[in-house]
Amino acid sequence: MNTARSNPINAIAMHGALILYTLIALFPVFVILINSFKTRKKIFREPLALPDAESFSLVGYQTVLKQGDFFLYFQNSFIVTVGSLTLILLFGAMAAFALSEYRFRGNMIMGLYLALGIMIPIRIGTVAILEMMVSTGLVNTLWALILVYTAQGLPLAVFILSEFMRQVSDDLKNAGRIDGLSEYTIFFKLVLPLVRPAMATVAVFNMIPIWNDLWFPLILAPAEETKTLTLGSQVFIGQFVTDWNAVLSALSMAILPVLVLYVIFSRQLIRGITSGAVK
């Protein structure tokens, strides 16, 4: 080990800088969470104190659960996210397999065509998307959101998955063909299980933007029964601006599901980013 790179003063300075930034990153979340469990008086008097026996209160959560339909919103967000992820993964993997496995005329063009959407945001087309959803009667249904998020997620999914599918050994697939397996069986039974890690990466990349999106729920599905959690909390907080207990509790309830998902999937997400899947 050389001394040049393991100087104790350097190490302390590095940890100091990282701890400082970690505190900046976590401080707002921490303040919201602790204050959501306090009485109104204590929220204002001692905003940085942890809730104790005296200041503990769930009044905000009671208001939220009474006034807002948070379980419905949660369910809608869940359906939209899982539905879109399923379609992105299934259709994305199928297209990626076609592009990476077969040589056919137009393969390259098709690949470029699908890749266009990686850089161009789907929001640009909002006016026409809304018009289309209105004319097909899909407006204010969860299907409208699922379709939009699927279209938005497909380009990157096809790109990442076809990179990975090129690495699946040809011998394996040809052995399958000699055994008389159909192309569909080869795809579903041989190739898909082998690219599972890449599928997980694609799923995690898409999950967070879909769950957090405000634009399309606001425009395509603002009805009470189709509100997602993000839109629901936006509207709820807008109505309860002066009820700080309710606002803080609503924020905490919106933070928790993503935080739980992050704790479960963070390793996958970070491995996905750092493995160069998006480079």
């Binding site: 940890h15 303040v31 905003p47 006016v127």
Partner: protein
């Protein structure tokens, strides 16, 4: 040997993705650009050519709003480039240090704001910066800087920069992760060779690592550009569709939303909304092309 036959399975594998992508993304995109060439006159849709764009760029009322939103959007982007990306690179440089303990812990914690929705982030900061609650003023008071406090989100001259900084706080995790990945892929031998020549510490970062991660810095720059010129949620969540105070935080996304749906007494206008979307499309396209043809192809890539 090969007889020409249609391989139906290829079409079947491709069909669902291509159909959804074409009908929900590509077709509406072009349809929006087409709608920008129409206008509504007496409940009828009439073709007006580039008239909407002329209104948008030159009509006194419209153009003032448009240039305001565009200028704000550039400032929003500039703050991200000057603050978010350097901090992200610095954090990545620290994290990639080979003998740093708890690196995974720091990395996961610093990434947490990125996973939160704009609604949460917008409201959380609004509460923290609120003069009513007083967390920000009392914290500044604790370090003797109370006089610096101002209702940052409520003042025209600070609001946009404050929001840009909130957005930086939220998204610093993305450049951090991408640069971190790039730094990890630099082979150890290269750094050791530098060490033998006496290049260590900061010098090693500037002279060896930075040139090697330039392509990744290019990627985060274009991702930041596209993300910023398409931003909407944070401003809407914290300042509403009017992007107050007095439109000082209005960016293209909120301007388009307001135009499309209408606000207060003004009725929504899908055609002007489409024209703004067209302008956004052009700006993003120019940015992406500049990156693809101007920067990416000229950048020196080193074989690692």
């Amino acid at each position: 040997m090969h007889k020409p036959r249609i391989r139906w399975h290829i079409a079947i594998f491709l069909a669902p993705a291509v159909l959804i992508y074409t009908s929900v993304m590509i077709f509406p995109l072009f349809n929006t650009l087409r709608l920008a060439l129409f206008s509504k006159v007496d409940q009828e849709r009439v073709y007006v050519g580039l008239e909407n764009f002329r209104t948008l760029f030159f009509d006194p009322i419209w153009s003032e709003q448009f240039w305001n939103a565009l200028g704000n959007n550039f400032w929003f982007f500039l703050v991200h480039m000057l603050v978010q990306n350097p901090i992200g690179i610095a954090l990545a440089a620290l994290l990639s240090h080979p003998r740093l303990r708890f690196a995974a812990l720091y990395r996961s914690a610093i990434f947490i704001p990125t996973i939160l929705s704009f609604v949460i982030v917008g409201f959380a900061w609004k509460l923290i910066l609120s003069p009513i609650w007083g967390i920000a003023p009392s914290m500044l008071d604790a370090v003797g800087l109370k006089s610096l406090f101002a209702p940052w989100l409520g003042k025209e001259e600070y609001a946009l920069t404050t929001l840009a900084m909130i957005s930086v706080w939220q998204f610093v995790g993305i450049p951090m992760m991408l640069i971190y990945a790039a730094l990890l892929s630099i082979p150890e031998e290269m750094l050791e060779a530098g060490e033998i020549d006496g290049v260590t510490g900061f010098a090693a970062f500037w002279k060896i690592k930075l040139p090697l991660i330039l392509p990744s810095i290019g990627i985060i720059s274009i991702l930041t550009f596209v993300g910023n010129f398409n931003a909407f949620d944070l401003i809407y969540a914290s300042q509403g569709a009017l992007a107050g105070p007095d439109f000082s935080t209005d960016i293209l996304g909120t301007f388009m939303y307001r135009t499309f749906f209408g606000f207060q007494l003004q009725l929504g206008d899908p055609h002007m909304g489409s024209a703004i979307a067209g302008a956004m499309f052009a700006i993003i396209l120019v940015g992406v092309c500049l990156y693809l043809f101007g920067i990416q192809t000229r950048m020196r890539r080193y074989q690692l």
